[in-house]
């Protein structure tokens, strides 16, 4: 893929990889074990401008192209998929606001999201159904110039430390979205996930939570057809690239392990590594194509991002499984990074739309 990247892309990718090698990878196992991300490392993401990667410079962001955003997700994903979730979610909130927020909402939140002064989270999933967004039961109600919110959201990434939430619900039976500050929500951390253990998941309970009516984002009726897809587009691109970073970790760990072993079964190990190396290249090309389509604002950007996330997350699961297999018993122990890769990779098949949701959407696209 190197030949598809500009010199600037390559230089930035090297910068991102150096940041991840120094600040993310060495602590990733500890964060996974402790099920938390230290505030200082989140602050470092903001100080570097990484949280504002896709936000326009007029709002204090970097305004990087989507390819650069993808390379950043890849580099961070090599260190910790859970940590990369912060970038993923921040970009989802920021880009939904970028496209559909009012001038006041953009001026209030985008500079803070870009600098990391505020962290965002996106509240879509509910306890009774993750994939069926139309069935959501969270309700917004007008009340004297305010909105009252009642409902429950679950499995919300970054909710343990987010300052503002883009919450989806129904207003007069129409899909709608609004910004809700942390203070208005009862937040219950969720622990003991198999993977993404440091990603700060929580359950959100809204009991007559009150926000100004001006916090509505976009128009009621279009939250699921136009707003959620913009957010999910960046979520899928970031997750796809993060999965490629995890896959690269599996590949590099496995190659290093094989190089240090003199065993009879090396031929079988070679076969597994061959598949990893091929998936690594194929996935990177697909992810790059999806980002290029996004940068060129092509209509097919959406379906290509679906394909990239679908392919990369499944390839990451395969590679992580094989990386554990190659190491044998030692790969099953918490002291080996590949055991964490295996647990994290599975989560990537579920977030931002499950593998089966992707198959349904793409299948309908291909055969009607």
């Amino acid at each position: 893929m190197q030949q598809l990247l500009t010199e600037l892309h390559q230089a930035r990718h090297e910068e991102f990889k150096a940041f991840a090698a120094a600040n993310v990878a060495p602590a990733a196992a500890e964060w996974d074990r402790d099920q938390r991300l230290p505030r200082e490392v989140l602050a470092a993401l903001g100080e570097r401008g990484y949280l504002g990667a896709t936000i326009a410079p007029e709002y204090g962001g970097r305004g990087w192209d989507t390819v650069t955003f993808g390379l950043l997700s890849e580099a961070l994903g090599r260190g910790s998929a859970a940590f990369t979730g912060v970038l993923t979610v921040q970009s989802m909130v920021a880009m939904a606001l970028h496209k559909w927020g009012s001038a006041a909402q953009k001026n209030q939140w985008l500079p803070r999201l870009a600098s990391g002064a505020a962290l965002g989270a996106i509240a879509l999933t509910e306890p009774t159904g993750g994939s069926d967004l139309q069935a959501m039961t969270t309700v917004f109600r007008h009340a004297d110039g305010s909105l009252r919110i009642n409902g429950i959201k679950r499995w919300i990434s970054c909710a343990q430390f987010a300052d503002v939430f883009l919450v989806f619900g129904k207003l007069d039976a129409q899909p709608a979205a609004c910004l809700v500050p942390r203070e208005q929500i009862s937040i219950e951390p969720i622990h003991d996930l198999m993977g993404f253990r440091a990603a700060g998941l929580a359950e959100l309970v809204f009991r007559d939570a009150e926000v100004p009516a001006a916090n509505l984002v976009g128009k009621p009726g279009f939250a699921l057809s136009h707003m959620a897809p913009v957010a999910l587009q960046y979520g899928r691109l970031s997750t796809a690239w993060s999965a490629m970073g995890l896959l690269r970790g599996c590949f590099e760990e496995s190659v290093a392990y094989a190089a240090g072993r003199k065993i009879d079964g090396l031929g079988m190990i070679r076969a597994l590594i061959a598949r990893m190396g091929t998936d690594l290249k194929a996935g990177a090309l697909l992810c790059h194509a999806a980002c290029r389509a996004q940068d060129e604002r092509l209509p097919e950007a959406f379906e290509t991002a679906l394909m990239a996330k679908y392919f990369a997350s499944r390839a990451a699961v395969r590679a992580a499984s094989d990386a554990v297999q190659i190491r044998g018993a030692s790969g099953c122990h918490g002291s080996s990074p590949v055991s964490r890769y295996y647990r994290d990779a599975k989560i990537m098949e579920i977030i931002e739309g499950t593998t089966q949701v992707h198959e349904d959407i793409l299948g309908r696209l291909f055969v009607g």
Binding site: G221, F222, H226, V230, Q233, P299, F302
Partner: protein, 87 residues
């Protein structure tokens, strides 16, 4: 582009993307099921790119995108071509 050219570009895109054999200028894209949640944003992106307009929050009205003709009218209005939009 005039209204006829815009209509044709829209028809070509929708037919190519959604494999619709025939499509009239006034056929309802939503009631017919042609526009699903993925295609809604694809159509919006096509309109923005092809006709150099920005679909903003205030433009989110079903009436603006209900049919090929309605979408062509929206494009012309956004480009300030009011006279042509009235054709």
């Amino acid at each position: 582009m005039d209204r006829t050219e815009i209509r044709q570009a829209l028809r070509d895109f929708i037919q190519r993307s959604m494999r619709v054999p025939a499509l009239g200028d006034d056929d309802d894209l939503f009631e017919s099921g042609i526009v699903n949640s993925l295609f809604a944003v694809q159509l919006m992106t096509f309109v923005e790119k092809k006709f150099a307009v920005e679909v903003a929050m205030e433009d989110l009205e079903i009436a603006n995108f209900r049919s090929i003709d309605a979408t062509a009218g929206f494009v012309l209005r956004k480009n300030g071509l009011h006279a042509a939009a009235a054709d």
